[in-house]
């Protein structure tokens, strides 16, 4: 009981400290805060569907970024042929990538569910390779990006002038988190997914068809990341290797948050985004921004393991 109270107090303290840091940053480096939230939003957004797959199906999907990349291509070509805006193309992308996800699951993942973790890792690595090389053969390595005038609209707040559109990633990450949480808590499929993620055998024993649940969640996640690819395209170029760095980032973010902890993926994404933006805001030290990601990751994982050992 005392431990619980101490934990609470610790959490409150943490919240206060982080709020304080945010206020200080707003005064000291407002751009780092704004841009950090925006880039962190993108990290979090992309990581969420991967966290869903990892949390429910238990598979580390190394092809995650490649599905996003293919989603971006999908939106690009849909735009070329029909004039659809990428943000609108997210809707057909959801459908198309749900199908692609289902096909991928049925053809590959399902057959490796009982295989050792390493085999699954290599399997999705192979899928990633096929995805990226397919894009390269189809559309070459030349980057593509539609012109969209709204993506560089800006806002002025006193002396600050900053991009408003990029908050779409921040907002979407939060919206997706809320939607996924609602889905997982309120819908029968969502609850089944949670159940399967927490205890597959227990899920079988309450009458859940776990294979169907895996299929549904995998398809849903791929559908989401395909649609996120369309949103990614609004501010980024697409090319065959555009997705792979985000696989790594997402994986790191999930490890940071702890598997199954979707809210922490989002807050962790914001935190890392802000930390990176802060490092970048110092002239001449931008080259160290990459270290932030890794260093925070190592520190958190080590810290957690030591706390567990001493507890």
């Amino acid at each position: 009981m005392r431990l619980l109270r101490r934990l609470r107090r610790g959490q409150v303290l943490l919240l206060l400290v982080s709020l304080g840091v945010l206020v200080l940053m707003m005064l000291w480096k407002p751009y780092a805060l704004i841009e950090g939230l925006q880039r962190g939003g993108l990290y979090a957004l992309i990581a969420l569907p991967m966290a869903l797959i990892l949390g429910v199906v238990g598979i580390i999907n190394l092809a995650h970024g490649e599905f996003m990349m293919l989603g971006a291509y999908f939106a690009y070509w849909l735009g070329v042929y029909t004039g659809l805006d990428p943000l609108v193309a997210m809707i057909p992308a959801l459908v198309a990538f749900a199908l692609l996800g289902a096909a991928t699951y049925l053809l590959t993942i399902r057959r490796a569910l009982k295989a050792p973790e390493l085999n699954q890792l290599l399997l999705t690595f192979g899928v990633a390779m096929v995805g990226a090389e397919f894009a390269n053969l189809m559309w070459t390595s030349q980057p593509l990006k539609p012109h969209l005038s709204y993506v560089y609209s800006s806002m002025t707040l006193g002396k600050l002038r900053f991009g408003a559109y990029a908050f779409v990633y921040t907002v979407s990450a939060i919206v997706l988190l809320v939607l996924l949480s609602l889905f997982l808590r309120r819908t029968r499929l969502g609850r089944a997914a949670l159940a399967v993620g927490q205890n597959p055998r227990g899920a079988k024993l309450v009458g859940i068809d776990i294979n169907r649940t895996y299929l549904a969640i995998f398809s849903l996640s791929i559908a989401l990341v395909g649609a996120i690819g369309a949103m990614f395209l609004t501010r980024n170029s697409v090319f065959p290797s555009a997705g792979s760095p985000y696989t790594m980032k997402s994986f790191c973010l999930i490890a940071l948050a702890g598997i199954g902890n979707l809210p922490s993926v989002v807050w962790g994404g914001f935190g890392l985004g802000i930390a990176e933006a802060l490092v970048l805001s110092f002239r001449g030290y931008g080259g160290w921004a990459d270290v932030v990601f890794f260093a925070v990751l190592v520190a958190v994982i080590l810290g957690r393991s030591y706390r567990r050992q001493t507890a």
């Binding site: 808590r185 029968r188 609850r191 089944a192 949670l194 159940a195 927490q198 205890n199 055998r201 227990g202 899920a203 079988k204 024993l205 309450v206 009458g207 859940i208 068809d209 776990i210 294979n211 199954g260």
Partner: protein, 233 residues
């Protein structure tokens, strides 16, 4: 209702079920035996968690042998497994609701079933919002039984329900089991022979994966072998 015939199963080279046959009508039936005798393998085979090498299992005349677990459960069998297999990061209420949510026949009766659960285990009612993983062992056991009952099963299988429970709870538990036995058929695997024999009307003693003895409860209670080996008398 449930008929198990000539079941054989192996783990590697270990022969863990040997020509095992038993049947359960509408009454409560106990399966007794020491650790490792094959009780858990048997109940897992019934719900399809284990695929026996040979033999057959039928429930209401349908073979369960090739049915995936979720279909077995949906056809009216519920298992309270030894490890309880709750959803640790879900609330007590969500765990209970999960017991009925995936059984089409049980979905309508959720409020009544919840009511019944809370009547059977009042402690759960005070903990509906608590995460299942934070419950004590005894409370988890109750939750597991209540979750299984949410589906209003025709046959309830209990695997070592007294495991890890303090004595007072064990007594209480077997009372509940007897109550449940009035609504559903029960198949209970237990090591605690002395008390559990009183909760069932018939029993089988399994040793080394084979039926060593069977008969009505009071007959078993007075059997020399049972008294020596399981009651320490």
């Amino acid at each position: 209702m449930l008929a198990v015939s000539k079941l054989n199963h192996y783990y590697g080279k270990a022969h863990v079920l040997r020509d095992l046959s038993l049947d359960v009508g509408t009454e409560s039936v106990g399966v007794f035996g020491p650790n490792g005798a094959g009780k858990t393998t048997l109940v897992h085979a019934i719900v399809g968690l284990v695929r026996p090498r040979t033999g057959d299992i039928t429930f209401d005349g349908r073979s369960l042998l090739r049915m995936p677990t979720y279909e077995v459960i949906r056809s009216g069998v519920a298992l309270v497994p030894q490890e309880r297999e709750l959803f640790p990061y879900m609330s007590v209420l969500a765990n209970l609701e999960s017991g009925a949510a995936y059984i089409p026949a049980a979905r309508k009766g959720v409020p009544e079933a919840l009511q019944a659960s809370f009547e059977m285990f009042p402690i759960l009612k005070t903990r509906t919002r608590q995460l299942a993983g934070t419950l004590s062992g005894g409370e988890q056991r109750m939750l597991a039984i209540a979750r299984a009952m949410m589906s209003s099963p025709k046959l309830l299988i209990l695997d070592e329900p007294s495991l890890g429970l303090q004595p007072s709870l064990v007594t209480e538990l077997f009372h509940k089991v007897r109550d449940i036995g009035e609504k559903s058929a029960i198949l209970m695997a237990e090591q605690n022979v002395r008390q559990s024999l009183k909760a069932v009307s018939r029993g089988y003693v399994i040793e080394n994966g084979a039926i060593a003895l069977q008969g009505p409860s009071d007959e078993l209670l007075h059997n020399d072998h049972v008294r020596r080996a399981y009651l320490g008398l």
